[in-house]
Amino acid sequence: MIQIQNLVKTYSSRQGDVIAIDDVSLRIPKNSIFGIIGLSGAGKSTLVRCLNLLEKPTSGQIIIADQDLTKLSGKALRLARQKIGMIFQHFYLLQSRTVTENIAFPLEIAGLSKQEISRRVDELLHLVGLEDKAHAYPSQLSGGQKQRVGIARALATKPQILLCDEATSALDPQTTLSILNLLRDINQKLGLTMIIITHEMKVVKEICTDVAVLHEARIVENGPVESVFIHPQSEIAQQFISSVFSHELPLDLLKEIATHQNSEIVRIQFLGSRTSDPIMTDLLRTCNVGANILYGNIDHIRSTLFGTLTLELQGNLEQLQQAHDYLSSRELNVEVIQRAL
């Protein structure tokens, strides 16, 4: 588990101090894929770079395996860093080294023997599926292949933690998916904790187990991905979610329905096995209401199915209340968007 306590990072500039991280505290569970999402300039890169002390925090603690990293320096810090892998948006491979030599680099630094290095490099090439590119130079690789080398290199010293700083932001959507799948496989196979910095909600939706929303240097929201997706508390989280799940109804339609008598628009969201329940049929059978489907969608958050259904329900106050009671008895998340009585 990684524990970040009251982390503050300020930079001094001519215009005075700039606060990049403002009193951030987070607990990152072991084996989780922890997403940290924020707009550019929110401070997320600074936050992740504080975790391996590439940036020295102004105050606060970073506790990894019962050790406060901020107290370390010199050789102790270098040894601790060998246990924290990191990958970057722009890969930062050594251009003068082949794929094999790039992956060998952290092992050379750790002081392994030639035989050990060559054995470990072979394993890693296999893990990231780059056996056929072993002797290519980075300039001969595509972006996705470069990131695979970056991942292999970051995993070489068998770290318990992998930091990903916008690791897919320079890649096309197809390649992004393949890299995310690789990261998920690695998380499952090797059981390491991953911290993923991103500005793309689709990255969080694909692989993260937990997410923290960073806004203007502070954590405004944080929790398991499903609960943040279904009950976003902050406006910024809602904006991020609508970038992947847009349930907005056309304005003209809302206006028209507003003129109806005894009607309301509800959005029903359901997770996992609930997605296969015949709730529409049950709703209409149990409650004496009319229902008009305005919007429906089924997608996934990580590997959990996630459905949204927007209905116009027609009936008097009592009937509508009955419908609400029914829906909440099925443990569905219901939100009234508009009501005209």
Partner: protein
């Protein structure tokens, strides 16, 4: 003796010139090669120190960076001919004499080393800092970063720097004649200029052009082979 084009067809003319040119080429190459090597032995570490002690780099140290930078600037602003004379006592204490080809190497190195430091500095600054940070994130020590990241990643640019330095030193060796250093430049001044031997002047210049061209092509070819 005025230059006659018909001389070009006389064997004695060519053997005459060869006798003068051959030792001069030897002296020039000796001065250039030894000075370049020594200038790099001194200048390369200085260039590395300039880079790693600069603000925001792996071992920032403003005091070291500024002192070293100032010293280098002072040495670089002194005209070579002045250094040549000013360092005569130093040269004598170092090599036992202040006259001759070997003696000329001392001021050549003193003048070239700060130049090398700046050339190396600019090559090393081309290495993207992200690559250095990646190495830091893997727990590399400053020494490992210099040895395994900075120098190898800047290899092509460093080799171009060697080419530039060597060619500059060839230019400086022309002044070595002032302390009896010999070499092609000295020959061109002594015979070509002072004694109006246009033929020797022309041949000397041609030989210098060939050497410079050869070095430049060698450097460019090496860089092309090393670039990935």
């Amino acid at each position: 003796m005025p230059f006659e084009p018909s001389l070009l067809f006389q064997a004695s003319f060519w053997s005459d010139i060869a006798q003068l040119i051959t030792p001069a080429v030897g002296e020039t190459l000796y001065m250039v090669v030894v000075s370049t090597i020594l200038a790099y032995i001194l200048g390369l570490p200085l260039g590395v120190i300039l880079v790693v002690t600069s603000p925001g780099h792996i071992s920032p140290n403003p005091w070291v960076e500024r002192t070293l930078g100032t010293l280098i600037n002072i040495l670089r602003s002194a005209p070579f001919i002045i250094l040549l004379v000013a360092f005569i006592p130093f040269t004598r204490s170092l090599v036992g004499t202040s006259i001759g080809t070997t003696a000329a190497i001392v001021p050549l190195v003193i003048s070239a080393a700060p130049f090398v430091a700046r050339v190396v500095e600019s090559s090393l600054k081309e290495v993207p800092y992200g690559v250095i940070e990646a190495a830091l994130s893997m727990g590399a020590s400053p020494f490992q970063i210099i040895q395994k990241v900075l120098l190898p990643e800047a290899k092509a640019s460093l080799i171009l720097g060697v080419t530039i330095t060597t060619i500059s030193i060839i230019g400086y060796t022309a002044m070595a004649g002032a302390v009896g250093g010999g070499g092609l430049g000295d020959l061109a001044i002594q015979y070509g200029y002072n004694r109006f031997r246009t033929d020797i002047m022309v041949v000397t210049v041609i030989v210098l052009v060939v050497i410079v061209q050869g070095l430049q092509s060698l450097g460019t070819t090496l860089v092309r082979k090393l670039s990935h």
